[in-house]
Amino acid sequence: MAHLTPPVGSRDRDKMQGPPTASVTLVEYGDYECPACGDAYGIIKAVQRAMGDDLCFVFRNFPLSEAHPHAEHAAEIAEEAAVAGQFWPMHDALFENQDALDDGSLLSYGEQLGLDRQRLLRALRGSHAERIREDFLSGVRSGVNGTPGLFVNGRRYDGFGDPESLLAVLRAAMANG
């Protein structure tokens, strides 16, 4: 229970920031419309700045689409951006505009990144749905019980709240690694 399945790097589709060889890997199962994930976005940015190349950050989809009506479409658009190598700019744009995630806004973020409108529309119709559900179910099997669901070096981390405590946990993982 509460162990990351599948581990990072076991499939080539994980979205990574930072070197895959970093001594600490932080995985987030996140929902673009979840307010707590919005808070986590800022905290993780701060932690990434502090850790530099010692940290590899991975984002996996965990949209609670019944609770958050725009979460699934936001994830679809991010996956479409990933196809064009623009995942992280889209990930950031979504978290920085959590109050504007309707389809029109999602299309405009895509177009601002130079993505093809027809492909974006196909994404909104679910062209990446299977991939997103795979992420979601891997989270469920790993014991994710809400968002953001965080894993530090494959182990679930529950005490999430501020950059200092997360940083302390990551540094401890680095020392143990």
């Binding site: 229970m1 609670l64 019944e66 609770a67 469920v140 014991g143 019980n145 809400g146």
Partner: protein, 174 residues
């Protein structure tokens, strides 16, 4: 964290025992009996109360995982001491696609039968039971009341159930 209101779990039906029968309202004019669900695996998710934040997350999570539960032919039932109108409002607001049963009158009677009633708080523990198609408890889990137990334990239990029943598992679920 020591919690004086917590039950020990000793009174919970044991694995291999018959799950206690009950009949509870799922809507103002419909009720569900456990025995009516024979032939299907049943997931009973006791939770303390509608609207409290962790419960909401737990039920919302199960709502999203529902297609996976159904792949195993399993029926999910949430149970709390809230009344039918409260359940109806909660289910509507969270867009829940599974029944919430009202263990309301006599209050907590089913939770008591399953050994998960919290006497001091007057509500139930956060407890999970997986019951097989013949009505026998196959898995149970008592979670700390403030922690959403997630769905991984349920899925593993359903998987084990399916393997155990493999030769006879040609039934189709509705």
């Amino acid at each position: 964290m020591p919690n004086p209101a917590a039950t020990s779990g000793d009174a919970m039906p044991k694995i291999g025992e018959r799950a206690p029968e009950f009949t509870l309202h799922s809507t103002p004019d419909q009720s569900v009996s456990l025995s009516e669900l024979r032939g299907h695996a049943v997931i009973l998710a006791f939770y303390p109360a509608d609207w409290s934040p962790v419960c909401g997350d737990q039920m919302s999570l199960y709502n999203e995982v529902l297609p996976e539960f159904r792949k195993y032919g399993a029926e999910l039932m949430g149970i709390s001491v809230d009344g039918v109108w409260c359940h109806a409002a909660f289910a509507r607001e969270r867009k829940l696609h599974f029944p919430l049963l009202a263990d309301f009158e006599p209050k907590g009677a089913v939770a008591r039968r399953y050994g998960v009633y919290r006497l001091h708080d007057g509500n139930s523990e956060r407890a999970l039971f997986v019951i097989d198609a013949s009505g026998v408890v196959r898995w149970r889990y008592l979670s700390p009341v403030g922690i959403n137990p997630g769905a991984d334990g349920i899925l593993t239990a359903l998987e084990n159930l399916n393997q155990a029943n493999a030769p006879a598992s040609d039934r189709k679920d509705a």
